[in-house]
Amino acid sequence: MSFNPEGVTRRSFLGMVGAVAGAAAMYSAMSTMGFAAQSNWRGRLNLQGAPDNTNILILGAGLAGMTAAFELRNAGYNVKILEYRDKAGGRCWTLRGGDSYTELGGFTQHIDFAEGNYLNPGPWRIPSDHFAVLDYCKRFGVKLEPFIQVNYNAYLHDSEAFDGQPQRFKEVATDFRGHVAELLAKVVDQTGLDQAVSADDAEKLVAALKRYGALNDNLDYVTGSESSTFRGWSHPEGGGVDGKPEPSPVNSLSDILNSSLWRNLTAGDNLHMQSTIFQPVGGMDMIAKGFEEQVGELITYNAKVTRISHEGDQVSASWVSADGGSDEQTETADYCICTLPFSVLSQIDHDFSPRMSKIIDSMPYASAFKAGIEFKRRFWEEDEHIYGGISYTNLPITLISYPPNDMFSDGPGVLLAAYPWGAYSYQFNALSPDERLAKVMEYGSQIHSQYYDEFKTGASVAWHRVPWTLGCYGLWQDRDADYQDATAMDGRTLMAGEHISYLPAWMEGAVLSALDAVERLHTTITEA
């Protein structure tokens, strides 16, 4: 294992700066998930009047499949689900101590986290505008707690800026805002914007910018009590003889701009990251378990679908045991809701239309990587006063997220220690679990020097090696052209899942697509 105290090389930094378009494209791709419109949930379904003896076959017991099963069963349909794994939930998944996870290639990790600790390899946050998921949590008694997205005391880090020292979010945020406010306030104050701003408005704008940017009476953003009230003091406010604070020195605008740290200032302003957002108490799969309690009896586990075929008024799915059996069994139904990821469906023998087949074959699944590392103590809280939230870095780990639960507890805690997409994630995918952890430790220790002393254990998930999805979420090649056709009934089958939504990779997208499929299917059946 090598150790590179300088982090990424100068060459790579210049490459990044030179390739602004590439980096920008990546950031844009990463935030695509967040820029979609909010949920179009229209309230609870209350489907009535399923014709007697109408059989619906559902492929996949992830959130989409279980949502469909729950609603259709409640409407009076006979529902069966085929699921490849030995448990339900799909990507709504949590790894805890005592779990074993074998990824493609046969690499097995025996998770050794302490009681109560976990890693959510897939979804980990629930936005407050994801109404459908939140409503099912409420109905199924899944306890939620706040997830902390923005922590002003967490870090922004770039290995080429500020001598590689992580900077507190509050310092960078205050400095950036202050300098920008100063520039604008002075332009306005000197009537430089006569064309754009009326005299009345200009006066108010200057007052607003002075407050917004923590400027002094001269409209300067400088070291002083105004700026330190937001960015923190070099000698803190206190009591007794030593109580008087000393202002902290502000960074120059040039230093802030050249640090690139401004890139992540708005991460928490994204529609789906805006406070308040949530996580289930105890791990994301508490949602899966909530659904499973409702529809678990409908699920056939360990069923690997091998063929989907339509004949007359029937649709059939053949399957074999997922652990290698060769005896093929067949389920036949009147209709099918297929939630299998297209990365998997494209490899299953089927008789969907050429148009649907082409769409299925054109959707690979994204690469993403997550690592959770358990440390002997919560040093980020005890030493650095970071309580929840996320630190961002230009290192290949991309971010470190601190657990928003069990704060101030003694004993081990788990950090989400890496969550890259794109080129970095591909390279983590290609390593063995041990090699990945070694790299995550190497990078993370550049932000938290306690890493090696406090290391206890770790786990990681490379989404391209997840046996039941072959990737993280569906990548449309031409969504505008193909999306509507993918939602259409093909034979007697409707597709559902996060890929059949404009909220890709979100649980809400999976649930909404299932609700929409269920409603349309019910209409088709009852109006036939």
């Binding site: 790579s12 299998l340 494209s346």
Partner: protein, 133 residues
């Protein structure tokens, strides 16, 4: 620094109980957020392809499969792996943005002459890759 190295060694030791294969040299990896920077075919294979097709080209089987590249007669035609790598197909993502023409050619030539494949004839070139983008 010395303390750090000692603790790295301790970590390596504590993790070796789980070790499933020997460490590989990743010193040229993780050098750019949006592209692979490895240049020779073997390193490109190890840095991206091995994620799915596995370090020895044996592929993998789950709910869907990653095809084995070992003794794979589909690699006989040079254009086939180039097209798959650049444009993707089914579960295979397009890697044309991650790899430049030269890198695609290098890794195509690597898989066509390794893992039991003996297709040294008609090697891929950056020009050929470029013409297929």
């Amino acid at each position: 620094m010395k303390i750090l190295i000692t603790s790295i060694a301790a970590l390596a030791l504590s993790m070796s109980a789980l070790a499933q294969e020997s460490s590989i040299d990743t010193s040229t990896w993780f050098d750019d957020p949006s592209t692979l920077t490895q240049t020779d075919g073997a390193s490109i294979y190890a840095g991206v392809c091995a994620g799915c097709h596995m370090p020895n080209g044996q592929g993998a089987q789950g709910a869907g499969d990653y095809p084995a590249l070992t003794n794979n007669s589909s690699l006989m035609a040079t254009a086939y792996p180039i097209s798959l790598i650049v444009h993707g197909h089914k579960a295979m993502p397009a890697l044309g943005g991650l790899l430049d023409d030269k890198q695609v050619a290098s890794v195509v030539n690597f898989i066509r002459t390794n893992f039991g494949n003996d297709y040294a004839d008609n090697p891929a070139s950056a020009e050929l890759v470029n013409s297929m983008r």
